[in-house]
Every structure is written in C-alpha cells, then in structure tokens.
C-alpha cells in the first residue's frame, strides 16, 4: 500500500501499549510543621527539599533535577515532578527531612503517579457530607 492510499483511509485502527515508559513521576506532598503559623514560599520549599537531597545523597543528590509544579502556601501542599529514575531518591530524602529551621516537620506523601492527570482525579478526596 502506498502512502497515498493510507492517507485516504484515516479510519485505520492503531493500538500501542507502552510499559513503564513514563519519563516522569509526579508526587503530591504536604508539609506538616510543628508551628502551624510558619509561612514558606515556593522558593523556600524547593530550597528545603534540595537541602534534604544534599544531606542524604551529597552533592550528586543535590544536583537531581525536579520541578515544583504547583504550590499552595495556605495548605503547604505541592505538586512535584521528577525523572522516574530519581523518584526513589527524592521520596527517600522527603521521608528523612525531619526539621525545618529548628522545628520538627514531616512530609506527607499524598499521592504518587507516573501520570500528572491521576493527581487531579483522586476519589479519596470525594466528600459527600
């Protein structure tokens, strides 16, 4: 079949299955601080996460690129994007981050997915009462 014939028939059926092909992973995380009145800007938060990567994995870890896609200052909730290969490093350093400016803190990982779309449709957030 010549390419011209193919163009006349756009109604072909094509199916491709991609396994583990997602280049990025997305995390929805929430920072819980001992003193709830503490305010953090988006830049502060990213800097804080980088410091966590550095303390756990050293300079090489601090060079891990990740993006702070969205950040809500009121709830301290953020969407992060990281290369799939760096997910475990980022997640483990978030887990071990225990103090921010001499006060106890913890990151709650709310959702992790290879698709950003999945983070916008989490049925655990359905509130009916």
């Amino acid at each position: 079949m010549s390419p011209a014939d193919k163009k006349d028939k756009p109604a072909d059926y094509q199916r491709v299955v991609l396994k583990n092909a997602s280049p990025y992973h997305y995390m929805k995380v929430c920072l819980v601080l001992e003193d709830e009145s503490t305010r953090l800007s988006a830049v502060d938060l990213k800097q804080f996460i980088i410091s966590g990567l550095k303390s756990l994995y050293g300079e090489v870890g601090a060079a891990l690129t990740f993006d702070l896609l969205k950040y809500d200052e009121d709830t301290l909730t953020a969407f992060l994007r990281v290369n799939s290969r760096g997910l475990v490093k980022l997640w483990s350093s978030l887990t071990l981050l225990g103090s921010y400016q001499n006060q106890a803190c913890a990151f709650r990982v709310l959702q992790v997915s290879p698709f950003l779309l999945a983070l916008t449709g989490n049925s655990r957030e359905l509130q009916l009462d």
Binding site: K7, P10, A11, D12, Y13, Q14, R15, V16, V17, L18, K19, N20, A21, S22, P23, Y24, H25, Y26, A42, V43, K46, T65, D67, L68, L69, K70, F79, R81, S84, R85, L87, V88, K89, Q111, V112, S113, P114, F115, L116, L117, A118, L119, T120, G121, N122, S123, R124, L126, L128
Partner: protein, 354 residues
C-alpha cells in the same frame, strides 16, 4: 544498589487511534467496561461557555445514593435482587474504604459481587475465593467474586445461604456504600434505602474559563503528532491549573507545553464528580461529536474519565489494587473528522486495559 534506586513500579499506557466511523472501533465497550467512574473532565478550546446541549448532559448525569453503615448482606436481599439486580444494572462501591488497608466491596452492573478482604475477614467469611494477584511474598489479601445472577446464587440455594450466613453472622461486614441504578434510578433502590440512613447526591459540576492558554497543535490525521506522555502531562497540567509558561532555566519548574504549540485565546474546562455511570459518559461523547460537527476555530475536544482508586475492580471486572496511586483513567481526544485518540492508563496493581 543504584539499579534498585532507579526502578519504579510498573505502569501501563495504552494508546488507541481510530475513527468513530470505523466499525472496528471499540470505544463504547471501552467506556462501558470501566464501571466506577469518579470524575469526568472536559476541555473545550476556543469556547467560553458550554453550548446548551452539552450543559444539558452535565446536568442530567444520574444521581447516586450514599447509604451509611450498610451491612453487606443487604445486597443479597431477595427483594433487592428482584427489583434492582435482575432488572437493569446496579453500580455499587464501598465508600471511604481503602483497598490497601480495609475490606472493599463492589457490585457490578452484570450482577457480580466482588469482595476484597484481608486474611482474617476472608477466613471468617468461609466462602470460596482466591488470593489477590497483587500479594507480595505473604498472602494477606483475598478476593471473593460471586455471580448473583447465577442459578447457584438464587435465593434459598446452597451457595446463597452460605454467603448470606457468612456475611450476616460470621463476618458482619458493614460499610458506607455508594449506589446507583440504570435505568431505574432511585425507584429501584427505594426498598433498600428506606431501611438505612441514606442521602441522595447529584454529581458536582464545576467549570471555569482559561484565557491565553498555550496548547499543543493537535491534528487528527497526523499520527506522529505528539508524544502521548507529554500530551497527557499537558492535559493534567491544565486540569490542575498548573502553569506551563516556564523557561528551561527557571528555578521552580521547567514544565512547558509540548511543541509544536499554538495559543488559544480562551478555553473552557468543565468537571463532574461523583459516582458516574458509563451510560452518561457515553451520552456525553455523542454530544461532543455533535458539537464538533459544527465548524470551529479549534477542531478537537479532550475528555478525561477517572475511575475510583479504591474500587476492587477496574476494566472488565479485573482485579484492581492501589499500591501508590491506584490510577485507572482514560483520556479521549476527539477531532472534528470523527477520528479519536484514546489513552488508557493504569498503575502497578492492575491488568492491561481492554
């Protein structure tokens, strides 16, 4: 060690391209086979308010019912089986139960009841089941699936009695339950509802307008147009109100819209949340096709449907688990010439979508 750190759990993305005019297209069965839909979101480029026929579909999504603290043996009630399960399709799924820690229940439209139970509950129930496919090392979760329309499960039969006594006197499983019925609606469920604390819920519709949105230049016949992962990422970013206006050197985020891109002056994003029936999604798709038949500035519409993350089943009634995200969703891109691109995605604890 470094190898382990780089690995992530399995994920699957199925990309289908075809046309509604192709008789081999399976879009209706793919839509129908995802029974428990939580959220439908729609992106209409170059549109500031939804046309009335689309609005009518959003506002006519079926209501659903929340029954608080319902004993699961009520689903085996003779009258309920006769008026709801044997007549039409019942969609029921336990609410506020988490499949990675609690017992979860789903009643599918084909009359199959699926219970995902921890080991203790399964042993208490004393009904045949099988270990979950997603057990790791030790078996700690079991799945019991029974066909309520089967002759052995007819009220009074042995299988029926065994399950009923198991659920009523041994396991005594109670949970909040979401329920919907097609086509009977609340009338078919009235008898069950009247015995418990229940409330009716309308799916929650919200919409907002976006201005000067950069979006990928999408053309239907261009098969090599856009990488599916970047496309889904962009749709997700729009849905989550994440800005794509970044440069590669910015400190916070380097997320950008996939190339080649254009800018649309305005776009409408509409989302509906609740227990949504596949029949309603199907009706919406038909109306989108009708909407695209009229000449427009941008000739595509994107529709995304998310399944419940804690449902014990996903497509075709196959077992589903959550692991980290529990994602089971599909994203449909419909073009004016009746062609479409469908992306079906699942996480680690799921089988391949249809």
């Amino acid at each position: 060690m470094s190898v382990d750190l780089d690995q992530t759990p399995r994920s699957l993305l199925v990309c289908d391209r075809s046309s509604f005019l192709n008789e081999k297209n399976r879009i209706s069965s793919q839509v129908e086979q995802l029974h428990f839909n939580y959220k439908v979101s729609l992106l209409l480029p170059e549109c500031s308010s939804a046309p009335s026929h689309l609005d009518a579909v959003f506002n006519s999504f079926n209501s659903f019912y929340l029954i608080r603290n319902m004993p699961i043996y009520e689903l085996l009630d003779k009258h309920f089986l006769k008026t709801a399960v044997y007549q039409g399709s019942v969609y029921g799924v336990s609410y506020r139960t988490r499949i990675d820690e609690d017992n979860c229940v789903a009643l599918m439209p084909n009359g199959h009841l699926s219970l995902s139970l921890d080991k203790d509950s399964f042993e208490l129930l004393g009904v045949e089941g099988k270990p979950s496919r997603f057990n790791h090392r030790t078996t700690c979760r079991y799945v019991v699936c029974v066909d309520l329309t089967d002759s052995s499960m007819a009220p009074g039969g042995r299988g029926y009695q065994r399950l009923l006594t198991g659920l009523r006197s041994r396991l005594q499983l109670k949970t909040d339950f979401l329920l919907s019925h097609h086509p009977g609606g609340g009338a078919s469920l009235q008898d069950l509802l009247s015995r418990y604390d229940w409330s009716e819920h309308r799916p929650d519709v919200s919409s907002h307008t976006l201005t000067d949105l950069s979006c990928p230049a999408l053309q239907s016949c261009d098969l090599q147009s856009c990488d599916p992962h970047s496309l889904l990422e962009w749709i997700g970013a729009v849905d989550a109100h994440i800005s794509c206006e970044n440069s590669s050197s910015s400190f916070l985020s380097s997320l950008v819209c996939p190339e080649p891109k254009t800018t649309v002056s305005r776009a409408l994003s509409v989302s509906v949340c609740g227990l949504l029936l596949p029949q309603d999604v199907h009706r919406l798709i038909q109306q989108i096709r009708y909407y695209l038949e009229q000449p427009r500035l941008e000739s595509w519409v994107s529709l995304t449907v998310h399944g419940f993350v804690d449902s014990p089943v996903s497509w075709r009634g196959n077992e589903h688990g959550v692991l980290r995200g529990g994602e089971n969703f599909y994203s449909l891109l419909i073009f004016h010439d009746q062609t479409y691109q469908l992306h079906l995605a699942t996480g680690a604890h799921d089988t391949c979508p249809p």
